[in-house]
Every structure is written in C-alpha cells, then in structure tokens.
Amino acid sequence: MSLANLNFFMSEAATNLRRSGMMSFITISTIGIALIMMGAFLLATMNMESFLYQMQAEALVTAYLKPEVSISDAKTLSLRLTSLEEIENIMVVTPEQAAKELFSNPDDQQLMQIGITPEENPLPTTLRMKVKAGTHLPPLLEKLKSEPLIDNFSYGEELFQQFQGLSHLLWVTSLVIVIMLGLASLFIVYNTVRLTLYMRREEIIIMKLVGATNWFVRGPFIVEGFIQGMVGSFLAIIVLFATYRFALGKLSELIPFFTASIGFEQMFKLAAKLFMMGLVLGISGSLLSLRDINRFSKSTPEGV
C-alpha cells in the first residue's frame, strides 16, 4: 500500500466520521459500553481471586517427618526449607511439644487413655511452615514431596481444592460473559457499518467503476473501525478506572482494614487488554461487514 493510499484512507475516514456522526457515536459507545462491562467483570474477578489467594495463604503446611529423623536433622531441614522463596517461616515441633499441645486441650485428655503418654509418644516430629502471602501452592508441594525426610504432609487440602474450584469457576464465568459481550457488541458494530455501507453505496459504485480494488474501497472503513475502536476503548478505560478508584475509596472508608489488592502492573495489563479488544472489535466489525463488498459495487441493484 502506497503512502498516497494511506493518506487518502485517513482523510476519507476523517471526513466520513464527521459526516456520519451518529453512526460513529453508536459504534464508539457500543464498543465503549461493552468494554466497560468486560473490564468491570475482569476487575471483579481479579479482586476476588486475589482475596482468595490471601485467605488461602494463611493456611499452614504441616510436614510430618519420618519417625527415625532426629531433632537436629529436623532443624537442619527446616533451615534449608526456610531459604525457599515461598516460605515465610518454619517452626519445628518436637513430639513432646505436640503431645503437650494435645494435652492442653481438655477434650483431648481422653487421648491419654488410648496410650499417648509423654513417655510412649507415637507422634512424629513436624515442621509447621507458614507460606508467604499470594503463593501458588502446587509447586511448593512438589518440592516438599521430593524431600526424603518428609513422610507426609497436610495443607488443608479441602480448602485448597475449594479455592481452586472457586477461582476456576470465577474465571470461566467471567470469560463466558466477556465473550458474550464481545459477540453482542460485534453484532452491533457489524450492523452499523453495514448501514454506513448502504449509505455510501453510490460512492462505492463510482470507486469500483474507475478501477478501485476491493481493498482500496475497504481502506477508509477499516481506518474508521480502527479509530472508533481506539476512541471507544480509551473512553472505556478512563471511565472504568475512575469508577474503580472511586469505589475503592468508598470501600476503604466503610471497611477500615480493606486494602486494594490489584497492583499497578495488573491494572496496566488490563487496560492494554481492553484497548486491544476495542481495536479488534472496531476492525473486525468493519471487516466482517465488508467481506461481500462486490454486492454493493454493481451499478445495477440486481447485480450479476
């Protein structure tokens, strides 16, 4: 494509956007509203997920060491594990301490009757590991599994599974919603471009008559779609983030210990995603409408 062509497309697109202001308005606001809704869902999902992460990270991982492991070996192991990035701190619990803890609970006094005494103690040495906030558990568990001294461990599997399920469900739901919103707005954009195509039929016929290729005819429409997508997503991002900040402010007033869990980087990524989606919507809406452009270009309505 030559520079002259691109120039022509741009100026055509600018003129057309001005002339069919209503159509541009519809397209831009459709894209904008769809993106605001998509963004809101994604933000809510991100927030909920990070909240879940925080809750889940509170859980301790308890490793039960093999019976023959001595206290000093256990301490060496705990030192080594502390250096793992996922681990906040580790407490070594000797069988005696474990038993004491057990007996400190009056309900467990009966345990003595079934043979646990400070002298005859079947409890293993355990490591209680506090995991750093926001850690993804499975890789850590893999590492622990490969430790020969560790017999067995527990980490609140149920809670973890529930968390995984919930987070999965959240993402699937918001993905479905985002896709549906995308399709709905694509449909509207498609029809709007279709309408402008009919309005500019005469122009297309003349262009084709003097030897314009189909891509040349499509050029200005695609540039328009691009601009509309860009403007729509830009507005959507501004509205969405302003509202989000406002809502966060209100929430932290209402709930004193509430903190925003979505960082700047994540927000930036979300904005970039929304922007891309806006461009894709604008351009693909146009492209979809323009696919059978030959139908519009015959100088008689019935065509061939």
């Binding site: 494509m1 030559s2 002259a4 062509n5 022509f8 002339r19 005469e202 122009e203 016929i205 003349i206 262009m207 084709k208 008559l209 003097v210 030897g211 314009a212 290729t213 189909n214 040349f216 030959n294 015959k298 100088s299 008689t300 061939v304």
Partner: protein
C-alpha cells in the same frame, strides 16, 4: 482492440438480451450503438467493462479474454477504460476537482500527479474555472462534462459511454458529442450507445444497430436507421 466472439447473454428470467454477437472494434474507432429500447445496448456495454459476463462466448480486450478474468483483475481492466453513464454519477459532497481526482486516487497516484492531471482533464472539458464548485451547483451538461473529465483523467484506451446525452437538451448534447470527438481524435477508442439520431446521422461514424439482442446492421459511415 475489442473483439466479441459469439457473445450471448441470457438473464436468469429467460430474457435473451444478447444473441450470438461477433464483431471487432479497432483501435481509434468511433462506434455508435443504436437500437430500440430493450435491444440490449446497455447489456452490451456492461459486458465491455466486466460489470456483467456473457452466458456464452468470449470478449477480448487488447487480446485478453475478460470473460474469464478473475474478479481481482477487474479493477486493473477498468483503469484502462473510461466509463460515462447516462445519469451523471458524481459525488454530491465532493467538489468538481475531487470528483475528477477519484479516477487517479484509486490507483494511488501522488498529489502532484493528481493536481496536474485533473487540471488538464478539466481544461479539456472546459470546466477548470469551476473546479472548486460542487456538482449541485452545475448544470446537467456541466455535470456530464465532469464525468467525462473523470473518465479521461487516466488516459484510457477505450471510452465506453451509455446515452451520455440522454438527459441533455440538443444544444448541450452537441457540445458533449464534440468533446467525445476530440477525445477520439487523440486516439481513444469510443463506444457510445445513443438514441440521438440527429447526431448519429450528422457525424457519419461506424454504426452498430442492435435489435432484440442481435446485430442487424454494421455500417462504416452509417445512419441511425435500424429497420
């Protein structure tokens, strides 16, 4: 230049608009296409710029078969053709100069080339002083001249025109006809469908008479009569 070999066009509704037409038009020819309404003149012309394709037969332009030409090549065919139709197909929201420039824009010509060529074409049709006006500010004859300027702006080999004077009064028609003669005298082949028997009779050019989709007459210095 233009060669038709057994061209037949049958529309889906069964109308046989062209029936087994074979003829040759040489470079630099000026050809009138006459015949009653519904004879198939417009259909004939539309075949020449691949707006329509024959049901049977072949059309060669400059030795190339345009009937089997892929859709993607059609724009390049049209860049060698000038097309002027009866209803002045101008864009109302563009100035005269912009309308004429359209024929060059689509080939991606540079701004300076467009400027000089548009100026030349408008001078040729005598409208360079109205280049900034809009089509609605022009008379019918002037509008048709803008269309002609657009058709000749990229020096076409062939000018195809369907009743270019159909909507114009006799005086203006004569002026328009004069323009086509000038264009022809510079070497462009002109094929014109017309009902204007005065002009056909006066100019004594080649006349092809079409009745019910068939060539009933082909005379080198012919008259309008076709019966």
């Amino acid at each position: 230049m233009i060669e038709l070999q057994g061209v037949t066009r049958i529309f889906p509704n069964g109308v046989r608009a062209l029936n087994n037409i074979s003829l040759t038009i040489n470079p630099g020819d000026f050809v009138f296409l006459v015949g009653p309404s519904g004879a198939g003149k417009s259909t004939f012309l539309r075949m020449l710029f691949r707006e329509d394709v024959p049901t049977e037969g072949k059309i060669l332009i400059d030795g190339k078969d345009i009937t089997t030409m892929p859709e993607g090549r059609v724009p390049y065919l049209r860049r060698n053709l000038g097309i002027v139709l009866q209803d002045f197909q101008l864009l109302k929201r563009r100035t005269v100069a912009e309308n004429v420039a359209f024929g060059l824009r689509v080939v991606g010509a540079s701004a300076s080339v467009i400027n000089t060529r548009v100026q030349e074409a408008l001078e040729q049709v005598g409208l360079s002083h109205k280049r900034r006006m809009f089509p609605t500010e022009l008379s019918g004859g002037e509008q048709q001249r803008v269309c002609i300027a657009r058709a000749i702006v990229n020096n076409p080999l062939i000018l195809i025109t369907d009743e270019p004077t159909g909507n114009l009064d006799p005086m203006i028609s004569q002026e328009i006809m004069q323009l086509f003669l000038e264009i022809n005298s510079r070497g462009t082949t002109v094929v014109m469908a017309t009902h204007n028997h005065n002009l056909v009779n006066k100019l004594r050019k080649r006349v092809l008479a079409l009745v019910d989709g068939q060539i009933v007459k082909d005379e080198a210095c012919g008259t309008y009569a076709y019966e």
